[in-house]
Amino acid sequence: MNYRSPIPARTRTRTTDHVLELRGISKRFGAVRALSEVDLDVYGGEVVAIVGDNGAGKSTLVKILSGVHPQDSGTIKFEGTAVSIPTPTAARDLGIETVYQDLSLCDNLDVVSNLWLGRELRTGGRLDEVEMEQRSWMLLRELSARIPSVRVPVAALSGGQRQTVAIARSLIGNPRVVILDEPTAALGVAQTAEVLNLIERLRERGLGVILISHNIADVLAVADRVVVLRLGRNGGEFRVADTTSEMIIAAITGASDLAARRGPTPLRSA
C-alpha cells in the first residue's frame, strides 16, 4: 500500500494494456433503470471522459467501479481477469481509486496527515512523520503540484490546491485507474489550469484516468476519448482528435441519434 515511485514515463511500454473492460453493465434502483447494457474500456496512459446529462448514469457507473454498489448484470475485467467489486476496499485493493467531488478531506488536518490518513507509516509503533513528509514532497514534486507547504491545514488551501491534495492522496496506494468526479467544478481559471495540468501528469505516469465532467471545453483539453452516456445507455464514443464540442453536445442531448450513425467519427454508437 505504500507509495512507490511509479514506472517512469520514458520506459513506458506500448500502452495497449487494457486496464478496465466493462461489458453490458446494468443497474436498477427499484423501478428506475439507472444503467442498461453499458460498455466502457480504459487503457493505461489514457484519459477517458464520461459525459452526459444529469441522470444519464455517470455517477452510478462510477459507484459500480468504486465498489459502492455492485452491478445487477454485466462483467468487469481488470487487467484481463474478471473481477467483482463488492466494497470500496475491494476497489482500492484492485487499484481503482476515486476522487469524489466533495474531496473527502479533513479540513483541520495538514496535507501530510490527509495524504496518509488510514495508511500511516509506522516505525516501531510510532508514526514515522519524517518519512511521510518526505514522501509527500516527493509525490507532490513529481506531480509538479503548486502547494507551498505540506504542514498547513487543508482548510487554508485554495480550491485547486485541495483538489491537488485529494488527487495526490489517491496515488498513495499506487493505483492503475483513477476516477475523478467533476474535478474542475467550482474552480477559478488558474485553479482549473492547475487541475488540468495535474491530469496530464497522471496520464504521463501511465495511469488510466476516468474523468467525469460537465465542462466540455475542459474535457476536450485533456481527454483522449469521450464516452457519452444518455439515459443510462452508451450514447456514442468519440476520439478527441477528430471531434468537436458540437458533436459531443449533440450526442448528450440525443440530437445526433440519427446523424451519428452516418457521421464518420463515433467509434461506436448506441
Binding site: 520514458r10 495497449t16 489514457e46 503548486r146 507551498p148 477559478g188 488558474a190 495540468n197 482528435a241
Partner: protein, 398 residues
C-alpha cells in the same frame, strides 16, 4: 542571470551550490512568492541551506525578502527581485496556452501552462487569458498597472495590416477578429501579436541556436508546420504575414485535402495529427508525446513515421533554402524533440534537393530553447514594444 554563470567542475562543492541556487530560483518562478520554510519544503533543501542561499542571492539583488507571518509565526517571504515594470508573454499553440510574466530585464517571475481543446475559440480563450494574467500578477504582488506590454503568439499567420488571421481555415475559432485589439480592450495594456514560428525564430536568433546567424530560418514542427524567416536578427514577414508558411508547400499533388483548401500540403503529411492518424487503432498513441516516447523506446514504426516526416520536411525545406538561402535551419516545436531520428532523414532529403554551394547545404540544428522558444519570443516582442519614451524600456540585465 547570476545563478548560471561560470562553468564549475561537475560534482564539486561549487557546482552543488549552484544547482541549489537554481532550484530555489526555479521554485520561486513556479509559486511567485514563498516563505523560507516553504522554499525548504518545495526544493527539498535544508532550511539552513535555503537561508544561506537566500541571504546570498538577496545581497546580489536576485531576490527580495520581506518580513511576513505564517500560521502566527514570523516568517521571511522571498520573491524574485524585479526591475520596474513587467511584460507578459502568451503563447497560444493548437493544444496549449503558455503564459509567462517577466520584468523588462527578461527575468521570468512567474510562469503557467494550460492544456487547450483542439478547436479553441478566441472569445473564451482571451477571457481566460485575461483572468489568468490577473491571477498571476496577483501572485507576484503586482497588478495590470505594472504591466507595460503583452506579446502574444498564435499558430497562424497574422496579417500585420489589420491584425487578423491572414488565411482562413487554419484556426477557425480565431478568424475575423483583430486579436491584439480584442485582448487590449479586456486588459487595457498594449498587446502585440505574431505567428508562433516567427516568435520562436526571434527567440532562437536572440538567445538560442541561431545567435549570430545573418540569415536563418526557424522551422516549427508540431501540430502544424511553419517557419520564421530571419534576416540580420529581424523577422521577415512578407506583405500579409504569410512568409515562411512551409506547412502549405505542396508535396503531393494528389494527396489528402488540407485545412487551407489545398491538397497534399506538407502539413497533411508531416504535422502531428497526420502522424498520429497513422496509429489510429492504437489506444496508446494519442498525443505527440506518446509518439516521442515510443520512438525513444526504440519502437520501429514510431521511428519510421518520424523519419518519413523528416524526409517530407527536408523536401519542403530544400525549396525554402533555394529561395531564401539561409546559412542555418533551426528545428523547433514538439516533434523536434525526436532529435536525430527526425534531423538525419531531413538533412538527407535537403542534400538531395537543395542547391549545394561550396560548403554544401545549410546546417540543420535542433533549437536550444525547447518548447519555451515561442514563449520567450513573446516576451522579447513585448519588451521590444515597451514605449521608447519610458525610461524602463532601455534597462538591461545580462
Amino acid at each position: 542571470m547570476a545563478v548560471s554563470s561560470g562553468n564549475p567542475t561537475p560534482g564539486s562543492q561549487t557546482s552543488l551550490r549552484e544547482a541549489n541556487r537554481a532550484r530555489i530560483v526555479a521554485s520561486l518562478k513556479r509559486h511567485g512568492h514563498l516563505t523560507q520554510v516553504e522554499l525548504a519544503g518545495s526544493t527539498g533543501l535544508s532550511p539552513a541551506t535555503v537561508s544561506n542561499i537566500v541571504k546570498e542571492l538577496a545581497a546580489s539583488g536576485v531576490l527580495n525578502t520581506a518580513v511576513t507571518s505564517r500560521s502566527g509565526r514570523r516568517a521571511t517571504e522571498v520573491t524574485l527581485a524585479r526591475q520596474l515594470g513587467l511584460v507578459a508573454g502568451l503563447h497560444f499553440s493548437s493544444r496549449h496556452l503558455r503564459v509567462a510574466i517577466s520584468d523588462v530585464g527578461r527575468t521570468i517571475v512567474v510562469e503557467n501552462h494550460v492544456p487547450l481543446a483542439l478547436d479553441h475559440r478566441h472569445d473564451r480563450e482571451l477571457d481566460r487569458a485575461a483572468l489568468l494574467l490577473s491571477d498571476m500578477l496577483e501572485s507576484v504582488n503586482a497588478s495590470f498597472d505594472d504591466l507595460l506590454a503583452v506579446g502574444m503568439a498564435v499558430p497562424v499567420p497574422i496579417d500585420s495590416r489589420n491584425g487578423m488571421v491572414a488565411t482562413p481555415g487554419l484556426l477557425r475559432g480565431w478568424e475575423n477578429v483583430p486579436i491584439a485589439e480584442s485582448l487590449r480592450t479586456r486588459i487595457e495594456v498594449p498587446v502585440f501579436v505574431d505567428n508562433e514560428a516567427n516568435l520562436g525564430g526571434l527567440a532562437e536568433v536572440r538567445f538560442g541556436a541561431a545567435r549570430g546567424a545573418d540569415v536563418a530560418a526557424y522551422i516549427e514542427v508540431g501540430h502544424s508546420i511553419s517557419a520564421g524567416l530571419l534576416i540580420d536578427g529581424a523577422l521577415f514577414r512578407g506583405v500579409t504575414g504569410k512568409a515562411g508558411q512551409i506547412g502549405h508547400v505542396t508535396i503531393d499533388e494528389n494527396g489528402p485535402i488540407c485545412r487551407c483548401g489545398g491538397r497534399g500540403c506538407l502539413d497533411t503529411l508531416a504535422s502531428g495529427p497526420a502522424l498520429l492518424e497513422l496509429f489510429r487503432d492504437d489506444p496508446g498513441m494519442q498525443r505527440m508525446s506518446d509518439l516521442l516516447v515510443m520512438a525513444e523506446a526504440g519502437d520501429a514504426s514510431a521511428r519510421r513515421v518520424i523519419a518519413d516526416a523528416g524526409r517530407h520536411i527536408g523536401t519542403a525545406a530544400a525549396s525554402l533554402c533555394n529561395l531564401f538561402d539561409p546559412q542555418l535551419l533551426v528545428l523547433g516545436g514538439e516533434l523536434s524533440q525526436a532529435g536525430e531520428t527526425l534531423l538525419a532523414p531531413l538533412r538527407h532529403a535537403l542534400e538531395r534537393s537543395a542547391l549545394a554551394g561550396r560548403d554544401g547545404v545549410p546546417e540543420v540544428v535542433q533549437g536550444e530553447l525547447g518548447d519555451r522558444a515561442e514563449l520567450l519570443g513573446c516576451l522579447a516582442l513585448a519588451i521590444e514594444n515597451v514605449g521608447v519614451g519610458t525610461d524602463v524600456g532601455t534597462t538591461y540585465r545580462p
